[in-house]
């Protein structure tokens, strides 16, 4: 008999370098208001929003196996909650972002109870129906402008910060902070006991079920948490836009098609995927958006090609090739034979 | 020696990285019954699935009627005249008994087997022809599975553990009909855990052990000791 002791390591050398790089990048980004112009700040804030939305969708679809094509429901819900809190209740806009999250999470519970009755791909379309219902309901709210939407009142905007520049800085930092929090929360979740269970579910739902992991309960928790985060990001997006309407708030293209594209291209089921995907998405958008609908057509085609021929996405290709990981997430089982009596294992 | 109907030459078969068969060779002559025996997990079903085209060998060749079939897909293999009665019967649950038989004839090979003859061989199926397949008893399902395979008018019939889970009397009943099937010049490979049954029914015996042929010979020449040595690997 050979005796083998094992330790579970999270960190690898590349992930240690990765962590250092991330720290440097974060500091540089936090200082962006001092080196970037207005255009850059706006673009970066948008990038952060997509990183956060894609990471949340990745958690939902890539880890929990809940493929939703209706996450625009929560982006729009967050936006509408913010406008309603500010316009009807006079809440401060920044406070409203942090109220929108928990309220949306509460609403997500009955939504999950309904949509979870649908299996697999039918669940996906069910979430879309819910988003449509939200959109149609939003256009019935006359205090928020009904079908044509509404702008944030000037008084509320000024209440945030006296000057336009200060307001833009504030929103930029909020966007960066929110994205960092969302990413950190996802990493923490995946490294927790629940994260292990999630990986087990992803790898084999049946086996996970028979080993007593409460698959259904974990899925509901993830769904609600993702709704929480998605709504906060949505609230922030529409605070930056200063205007909301049912069609922009619940747009399946903007908040689901793009987000899925980003995640698939970057690498689904990997934490780094959405970040890489967002960078590619914005490069493509900046260079191809003159093409109009042709650009979207190319995007759809690229997503199909990646899904079929490189299903792990770009980051998957890189990680497999070089054994890289930017974040210490994957667990490496290190086997160390301690006694060499008997057969080597 | 005449060319065999089926000539398997040193095939290696894998499930992903796991190798299930190691250089297995086997010959079946026209009109012959060959038994393949072996313990659980020895690779018997893998061998039959590979012959039927559901799996493909990574090394070695399978030659049937003079043509290589190792890489042919299953739907093509059946058209060439190999039919498999799969382990666990696997009737189509949403089809009736008769539809299960009819779909066996999908490959449209010419021959003498048809619904009437199957019903003659297994009269109980005729009585239940319009019932859904899952309503049959285990033995009846096995008859339907054999009938479904015969409907393709094969020249080689592969039977995977047709006795599994059936009462001995039913097993004897099914095996009693084997001669009338073989009488037509059909070759049969039977996989069995029931060694006695296999030896009685066959001319040639192969014993698999952990993916390798551990013993091969004429059924009447093999002693009980040699078989159990090969079977249990002692």
């Amino acid at each position: 008999m050979s005796v083998v002791s094992h330790t579970v390591q999270h960190a690898t050398r590349s992930s240690r370098i990765g962590v250092a790089l991330i720290a440097v990048t974060l500091i540089a980004l936090a200082l962006a208001p001092f080196w970037g112009d207005r255009q850059t700040l706006r673009l970066l804030a948008e990038v952060y929003a997509f990183v956060a939305l894609a990471s949340l969708w990745n958690l939902l679809a890539g880890y929990a196996g809940l493929v939703s094509v209706g996450q625009q429901a929560f982006v729009g819900l967050g936006g509408y909650l913010l406008f309603w809190l500010v316009i009807v209740l006079g809440v401060h806009p920044v406070v409203a972002i942090f109220v929108a999250g928990p309220v949306a999470a509460l609403i997500a519970i009955p939504v999950a109870a309904l949509t979870f009755r649908l299996r697999g791909a039918y669940f996906a379309i069910g979430t879309w129906v819910v988003a449509e219902v939200f959109r149609l309901l939003a256009s019935q709210i006359s205090v928020l402008g009904g079908g044509s939407g509404i702008s944030l009142p000037a008084a509320a905007v000024i209440a945030m910060a006296p000057t336009r520049q200060a307001r833009e800085f504030e929103i930029y930092w909020l966007a960066l902070a929110l994205t960092v929090i969302v990413l950190a929360a996802i990493v923490a979740l995946l490294r927790s006991r629940h994260g292990l269970a999630l990986t087990a579910i992803r790898d084999n739902e049946l086996a996970a079920q028979s080993s007593g992991i409460g698959v259904f309960r974990i899925k509901i928790i993830i769904y609600v948490l993702v709704a929480f985060g998605t709504s906060m990001v949505g609230a922030l997006i529409f605070l930056q836009k200063l205007r909301i309407s049912p069609d922009t708030a619940f747009s399946v293209n903007d908040w689901t098609a793009f987000v899925i594209f980003i995640t698939v291209i970057g690498g689904i089921g990997r934490i780094e995927g959405p970040i890489i995907g967002t960078i590619i998405f914005f490069i493509m958008r900046q260079t191809l958006s003159d093409l109009g609908s042709l650009y979207l057509l190319i995007m759809g085609a690229v997503a199909i090609v990646v899904m079929l021929w490189a299903p792990k996405g770009l980051w998957g290709l890189i990680a497999e090739r070089y054994g890289w990981q930017a974040l210490p997430l994957q667990r490496h089982l290190v086997l160390k034979p301690t006694k060499t009596s008997g057969r080597p294992s | 020696m005449p060319d065999p109907l089926l000539d398997i030459r040193a095939i290696d078969v894998f499930y992903g990285d796991f190798q299930a068969l190691f250089g297995v060779s086997l010959r079946v002559n026209a009109g012959e019954v060959v038994a393949v025996i072996g313990a659980n997990g020895a690779g018997k079903s893998t061998l039959l699935k590979t012959i039927a085209g559901l799996m493909h060998p990574r090394g070695g060749d399978i030659v049937f009627n003079g043509a290589p079939v190792g890489n042919a897909p299953a739907f093509d293999v059946v058209k060439r005249g190999i039919a498999l009665v799969p382990e666990g019967r696997r009737l189509f649950p949403s089809l009736s008994v008769e539809e299960n038989l009819l779909i066996g004839a999908q490959s449209k090979r010419p021959g003498s087997w048809n619904l009437a003859r199957i019903y003659e061989l297994f009269p109980v199926l005729a009585e239940r022809r319009h019932l859904p397949a899952p309503s049959l008893s285990g033995g009846q399902q096995q008859m339907a599975a054999i009938g479904r395979a015969l409907m393709s008018n094969p020249s080689l019939l592969l039977c995977d553990e047709i006795s599994l889970g059936l009462a001995p009397i039913i097993v004897r009943d099914i095996y009693a009909r084997l001669p009338s099937i073989v009488g037509e010049g059909l070759s049969v490979v039977i996989v069995e855990q029931d060694i006695a049954q296999a030896l009685k029914a066959s001319a040639q015996v192969y014993c698999l052990q952990e993916g390798r042929v551990a013993l091969q010979g004429e059924a009447h020449e093999l002693t009980r000791e040699r078989i159990s040595a090969a079977y249990f690997g002692v």
């Binding site: 791909a121 039918y122 379309i125 129906v129 019935q140 759809g300 | 897909p73 299953a74």
Partner: protein, 289 residues
């Protein structure tokens, strides 16, 4: 009283169209467990194919079906054979995301080709013909034909599924793919035939959609949702169930629209959600043997 009868009748007749949306969706789900997110966009594509056929050959829309149906069936066969077969397997994501990508491609391809302008197929005099079924209750000739065609399509699919060799192959493949192969069925071909049939139904639905109202490249997803709701209301795997589901959805929308135009779609969705809440298996779930 007759006002409500008229409204409900309108809803029932529109339900026939929804049933056709649903039947194509249900068919491929039944055979290969594929949910085609591009289904609605394919309906719109069929409408544009019909537009091209009617304008270039001067055919009337119903006659154009003779060309549109085979054209869409061929597209379906090739789509499955060349693209969608590669996505099938244990993993749910590839088929979902590939058909989602396909939906984006079709929408934007149509936009590029035909612009965002709304179009309509002109069917001539028949469009305005109506007849009276009872005192004060009127039925349009075209909606009536549409409903009859829908019933015929569903009855035809039912026959095909349970009375023909192709239907037997569909059911066998759906039960057990690898044993189906052992029977000599090339499952890639069987799946492609199922998609061809689904798009043949889509073609009929697309033509009726295009005759009934204006269409433009963006309206596909809503058709997918109507079809999907009809499938779930009727019960997965039941062909006649899709007809009932479509009719319920149509009636709900018609009643909603009567109360407030803004409530037309909402009433349909809410009916769907209520049925999902109280009877998630649908009204006529397939009794599994």
């Amino acid at each position: 009283m007759t006002e409500w009868l008229n409204i409900i009748l309108q809803g029932v007749l529109i339900g026939g169209l929804y049933a056709m949306f649903a039947a194509g969706l249900s068919l491929i789900f039944g055979v290969m467990r594929l949910v085609n997110i591009a289904h609605g966009d394919l309906i719109v594509l069929a409408a544009y194919v019909a537009l091209m056929v009617t304008t270039s050959l001067g055919l009337d829309p119903l006659t154009s079906l003779v060309l549109v149906v085979p054209a869409m069936a061929i597209i379906g066969y090739l789509l499955q054979r060349l693209l969608l077969n590669r996505t099938l397997g244990d993993d749910l994501l590839p088929p979902l995301l590939v058909t989602f990508g396909l939906s984006i491609i079709i929408q934007n391809g149509l936009l590029e080709w035909f612009t965002a302008d709304s179009r309509k197929l002109q069917a001539g005099a028949i469009e305005v013909q109506t007849f009276q079924v009872m005192q004060g209750v009127w039925v349009g000739a075209l909606p009536f034909i549409q409903f009859i065609v829908a019933v015929a399509v569903i009855a035809g699919l039912q026959q095909l599924f349970y009375r023909t060799a192709l239907g037997r192959a569909f059911r066998a493949t759906s039960d057990d793919q690898s044993v189906a192969q052992l029977m000599g069925l090339d499952t890639r071909h069987v799946f492609a035939m199922a998609m061809a049939l689904s798009l043949a139904v889509v073609a009929i639905a697309g033509v009726f959609l295009a005759v009934r109202a204006n269409f433009d490249p963006s309206i596909g997803p809503a058709r997918l949702i109507f079809g999907f709701e009809a499938v779930i209301i009727g019960g997965l795997g039941s062909m006649w169930g899709t007809l009932v589901g479509g009719v319920i959805l149509g009636v709900a929308q018609a009643i909603g629209a009567q109360i407030d135009p803004g409530w037309q779609l909402l009433a349909g969705h809410i009916t769907f959600l209520v049925i999902l809440a109280v009877r998630p298996q649908g009204l006529f779930p397939k009794v599994s043997g």
